[in-house]
């Protein structure tokens, strides 16, 4: 399988200590300063973080963007359902931003990036889906692709039906060519084991922990794959 190389990354979560890592933003509210206030007002915390990170990783806004979220914006969706139940008309802004590609849509308007942009939800297999899509675009000749994964806690009303999710978003720029500052991503089959069916689905916070060296592997039972960094590399 073609090797993937991590060129750079950014993360946002208020649930970790950055410990001097300038790639990780741990503020409660991401600045969102990369995009104009009139667009920023429509974004939730994940959206603000995603736009900031994408523009840092690709200032020229030239690369394909793959954006995954398992749950999307559950809060806005639920508010719309409550409004319907009350017989109230739906808020157009809320409706427009509840769709799964809303965040990258706002990013596209703000940045002028007119490349292919894809919104992915995969019932817990988001990371595997992102890697598969990234390989496809890179095999098609892209020099780099931007891979984004973000989720916020699901609304209380749905909490019993979804895994506990802490707010986090992470963006990576990937390519096929090794360079001075790249890290090779090892992607291999997850050997079937009795416990693997019980593996929790990787969340954005897991990816951040893996990037910062707090976690050795990303394992995804649904795609039967695991990812790790090439041995002997230091954590960035």
């Amino acid at each position: 399988m073609t090797d993937l190389y991590l060129q750079d990354w950014r993360g946002w979560t208020p649930h970790r200590d950055a410990a001097g890592n300038t790639r990780l933003d741990t503020r409660d509210k991401p600045a969102g300063t990369a995009i104009p206030a009139m667009l920023r007002r429509r974004l939730n915390l994940i959206g603000r973080a995603v736009c900031d990170m994408l523009l840092e990783l690709d200032p020229a806004s030239n690369h394909v963007v793959l954006h995954a979220s398992r749950h999307g914006d559950g809060d806005r969706t639920l508010e719309m359902l409550y409004a319907l139940d009350d017989g109230d008309p739906l808020s157009p802004a809320r409706f427009g931003l509840s769709v799964h590609n809303a965040t990258i849509g706002v990013y596209s308007i703000a940045s002028g990036n007119r490349r292919s942009q894809q919104a992915i939800a995969a019932s817990g297999a988001e990371w595997g889906a992102l890697m598969a899509e990234a390989r496809g675009y890179l095999a098609d000749g892209e020099s780099s692709v931007l891979v984004v994964f973000g989720d916020q806690p699901v609304p209380e009303r749905f909490a019993a039906y979804a895994p506990n999710t802490l707010a986090a978003a992470v963006a990576l720029r990937l390519g096929l060519v090794p360079g001075a500052d790249t890290r090779r991503l090892v992607d291999r089959s997850l050997e079937t084991g009795p416990d693997h069916a019980l593996l929790p689905a990787p969340q954005p916070l897991d990816i951040i922990d893996w990037l910062t060296g707090q976690q050795a592997f990303i394992r995804c039972a649904r795609t039967h794959r695991e990812w790790c960094w090439e041995p002997a590399s230091d954590t960035q």
Binding site: A37, M38, R41, R42, D88, P92, A93
Partner: protein
């Protein structure tokens, strides 16, 4: 120029309904355009504002684009619309 109580109320309605972070009532000039130029609102804001006028004042706007453009031109014209057509 003095701002009427209704104009002030509409400014607050716009800021709250459209979640205009960093905008205060003083930033909205009653004579300046609300859309595209001036305040810089967009078409989704127009729909959202129409909904807010319906909820707050019971005003149902006709689907005629030209009259909506006139009503939504600036805060003064919006206040005139509310004055003339409010049922609550």
């Amino acid at each position: 120029m003095t701002t009427t109580a209704l104009e002030h109320e509409l400014k607050e309605l716009i800021i709250e309904t459209l979640e205009l972070e960093d905008v205060t009532a003083d930033d909205i000039d009653p004579q300046e355009p609300l859309f595209v130029e001036g305040l810089g609102l967009d078409s989704i804001d127009a729909l959202e504002l129409g909904l807010a006028l319906q909820k707050r004042y019971g005003i149902t706007l006709e689907s005629d684009a030209e009259s909506s453009r006139q009503h939504f031109a600036n805060l003064k014209s919006l206040a005139a619309l509310v004055e003339a057509r409010r049922v609550k």
